[in-house]
Symmetry: C2
Subunit: 156 residues, 2 copies
Amino acid sequence: MDAPVRHLDQVKLGQLGHSVGFLLRLAQLRAFDDFFSENGPQGLKPGEFSVLWVIARNPGIRQSVLGQRLMIKRAHMTKLIRTMEDAGFVSRRIPDRDRRAVELTLTPAGEHQVEKAAVLFFDYEQSTGAPLDDREQAVLVALLKKYVGLQGEAQG
Amino acid sequence: MDAPVRHLDQVKLGQLGHSVGFLLRLAQLRAFDDFFSENGPQGLKPGEFSVLWVIARNPGIRQSVLGQRLMIKRAHMTKLIRTMEDAGFVSRRIPDRDRRAVELTLTPAGEHQVEKAAVLFFDYEQSTGAPLDDREQAVLVALLKKYVGLQGEAQG
DNA sequence: CGAATTTTGTTTACAAGGAAACAATCCGCA
DNA sequence: TGCGGATTGTTTCCTTGTAAACAAAATTCG
C-alpha cells in the first residue's frame, strides 16, 4: 500500500462510488459510447433524434414546450431547430393567436429520417452488450422515471 | 386531439420515455440542478470535487489513471488539473521512473477543501427532495454500478 | 385603456468537453 | 545499441451547451 496508484482497479472511490450523481454521469457516458460504437458518427445525434421524434408525435408542438420536456435550454433549442430546418427536416410556423411562439412540424423528409433513425436508436439499447438483463433494465427504467418525475405522462 | 400541444404534460414521448439513454440524460440534469440549488455556484463544481476526492483517497495517483476512472478525457483533465493547481489544491510531481507521467497529491489547502465540500456533496443526495426512498435509491445505485461496470472495485 | 410584468425566441459572448496532431518518454525486440 | 511503436500529457481547434442581454409580443392589473 505504498507505491502510487498506477492501475485502474486499484483506485479507491470511497463514498463517491455510491453516489447517485456520479454514477449517473458514468452511466450516461457509457450509454453515449455504446450508441456511437453501434451507430457510427453518421446520421442523427441523440439530441437531434429526440427533437425530431417528439415533434413527430406532437405535431405543431411549441418550441418552448419541446425544450421544457427534453430539458433543452432555449438558447440551445434555437440552434438545434435551425440546424434541423436547414437540413430540411422541420418547418416552423408562427401561429396567429400568439405571434411570439413557434409551432414545429416535420417535413416529409423529416418523417422519413425519424423512421429510419428510430430503428437504430431503440434497437441498440437492447441489443448492445448492456450488462443488465431485461428485468434489471425494466427496474432501472422505472426508477429513473420516478427520479425524473416522468410518471403519469402521456406516452402514446 | 387537434389543437397544437401547448402544455408540458400533454407531450407524448412514446418509446423515448422508456429509453435508458434518454432517461439517464434527464436524471443527470436533475441531479445537477438539485446540487446547484442546494450548494450555490460558489465552491467546487462536481467535476472538480470528484477529482480532488479521488486524489485524496489515492495519493500519488497518475493523471491518466485518474482520468480513466472518472471518465475524463486527457485533454480535459489537463485543464482541470491546471485549474486545481492554480487554486493551490493539487501538486504535480514527475516521477523518475517514468518522466512522461504526472503523480498527483493534494496540498493541505486541497485536503481542507475536500473535507469541507464532501459534506455538501454527499449530504445533498439524501436530504434533497429526492423522489426516491432509501430502498429505491439503493436499488438504483446497485443497478447503475452494474451498468457502468463498477462492481468489485476497491472502494475503501 | 395603458404602464409594468411575463413569456417566447434570438443573439452574443463564454464555459465545458472532445478530437486530432504533437512532443517527449518509455518499451519491445532484432 | 537503436529503431518502431506505444504511452502520457499538452496544445490547438472545434462542438455542444449555458448565461445574460435583448426584442417583440402577450398578459396583468391599476
